[in-house]
Amino acid sequence: MYQYDQYDQNLVDTRVAEFRDQVERRLSGELSEDQFKPLRLMNGLYLQLHAYMLRVAIPYGTLDSRQMRMLGHIARNYDRGYGHFTTRQNLQFNWIKLEDTPDILAELATVEMHAIQTSGNCIRNISSDQFAGAAADEITDPRPWAELLRQWSSFHPEFSYLPRKFKIAVIAAKEDRAAMRLHDIGIEIVERDGAHGARVFVGGGMGRTPMIATEIAEFVPLSDLLSYLEACLRVYNRYGRRDNIYKARIKILVHEIGADEYRRQVEEEFVAVKALGIDPPAAEFERIKAFFAPPAFAGDAPDTLDRSDPDFAVWLDQNVKQHKQPGHAIATISLKPAGGIPGDASADQIDLMADLAQRYSFDELRVTHAQNIVLPHVRKADLYAVWQALHEAGLAEANLDLISDIIACPGLDYCSLANARSIPVAQKIAERFADLDRQRELGELKLKISGCINACGHHHAGHIGILGVDKKGLENYQLSFGGSGAEDVSLAKITGPGFSEDGVVDAVEKATDVYLAHREQGERFVDTYRRIGMEPFKEAIYGPA
């Protein structure tokens, strides 16, 4: 994984010192909240419902055991004993004291971490495939490109005050595990005539106006990638609306002027940008790429598994994926235990995951956009020991991609923007479907819950989506079906009138009954919905029209 050079380290250390001074001036009364707020947000510090919240950047969701342990240390010593992994592959601490924040950032800096650009109208954390470098279906590791984009976008003077926040995802496999087309820019690295290039998609996103990104370039040579993206951002920065926050994202610009006109302007700008020579020399990219060289896999690692323990066998089937290196596997640690809070992990659990990564996964961990943790490179012979350790720590839930593997935003329990609670709904649905055999009978079913229209819980992309709204001071939950953030990307459609908290759990169960009654061989819930349409589901949920 990438390691800071002295230039990187100086940047982060300087920012910590600068923010320490800003915090001191706020605490002394020299700065008002209006003056201080933009400064703290530039360092990922929000004021949420109960306390300050600090969002720590985890570039493309990759970290090592030393960094993971630091997150556990902060959870234990500065927070209330836990951290929350987010849908942006980051981590949030919910109970931070302002006066502690400079010390926290200083400690993060010792392990090459920070909270810069985790807030504000700038290019946010570059997200990627959590299986990058390990997936059997990837054509190359997308993370060197994500890292290049991280370096390009960090402190980019021209893009520090964009019309709105800006999110970029990079993948390099046909299976889209990063919801690439629901980003402002989605990049899929593809191969043509033996060369790698980028398919570029622009204008995706969820929130108030959900849209799927449109392809604007089918093959940008990777040697031109930075120039092309610079052109994309320049056109957005020039014409994106700053007069209306609800119309400020690039998806609105692309929609209003049309993808063809946006593409024409980007290509015109690209010619001018290309002449500036901002693309890195091949040697610099090779330097970055070297940090992502494959670990020293054992060439003779046995490819067989002892499946005699039935609980272990279920975990293998559900949570372990094929690795590109024989004798190895990718193991996903579910942060969705029955009745738990999606994405939360205690300091002890964080430490344990760090230990397992160090011992069994070449010192690497990944955060997924579905709020789970991945050990990307585990020898098959070590999987049973890993599973046993996870089992003891309450982390061996074998529910990856099943109905209880729910994405849920923090909702009204933590978030000052939310209108309804998300987590209790997730818990009740997980409890209703607690029987793992029943979950596995239902198969892949992605259920996603947001507590407000901003859609941090990705409800638009759920096979089943739930949106909490405020209805005359009461929580109300709108149900939708048919979304997907994967390569079969689609936006969910609302079923009809909303429900109470318990009512929406009942409605979800009725929907799964309809699916079971109608499904054909090999169909997932979303496939059956797409084939038979909304009506049978509506009739079951709301009664005959």
Binding site: R26, L27, G29, S32, E33, L47, Q48, L49, H50, A51, Y52, R80, W95, I96, K97, L98, E99, I341, L412, D413, Y414, A418, N419, R421, I423, P424, Q427, G473, L474, E475
Partner: protein, 98 residues
């Protein structure tokens, strides 16, 4: 009744105006009547509290309760982590929130 709330500058804790200072317990809230907006400006200017604002509340035998669920959640803590609320030892503490 109307009560005044905000977040403590240093800790971010939710706090409630008692008539003479700030408390972490909503039960201590004073009815600020029409004086809330002026009080909010005064306390914010004094750098004691962040983003103070006035809300509607109901007087109950146990003390004032915010009218809206968001402020009731703020008053107690996250409904899904009783151990993180202001009353972790009281299993019924959250009954008035929902």
């Amino acid at each position: 009744m109307k009560i005044l709330t905000g977040n403590d500058l240093k800790t971010g804790d939710v706090v409630w105006w008692t008539g003479s200072g700030w408390s972490r317990h909503v039960e201590d809230s004073a009815d600020v009547g029409e004086a809330g907006e002026a009080l909010a400006r005064q306390e914010e200017a004094a750098r004691r509290v962040n983003v103070p604002y006035v809300i509607d509340a109901t007087a109950t035998p146990e003390g004032p309760r915010p009218a809206h669920i968001k402020d009731r959640v703020r008053a107690l803590g996250p409904t899904i982590r009783p151990d993180l609320t202001l009353k972790p030892a009281d299993p019924s503490a959250g009954n008035w929130v929902i």
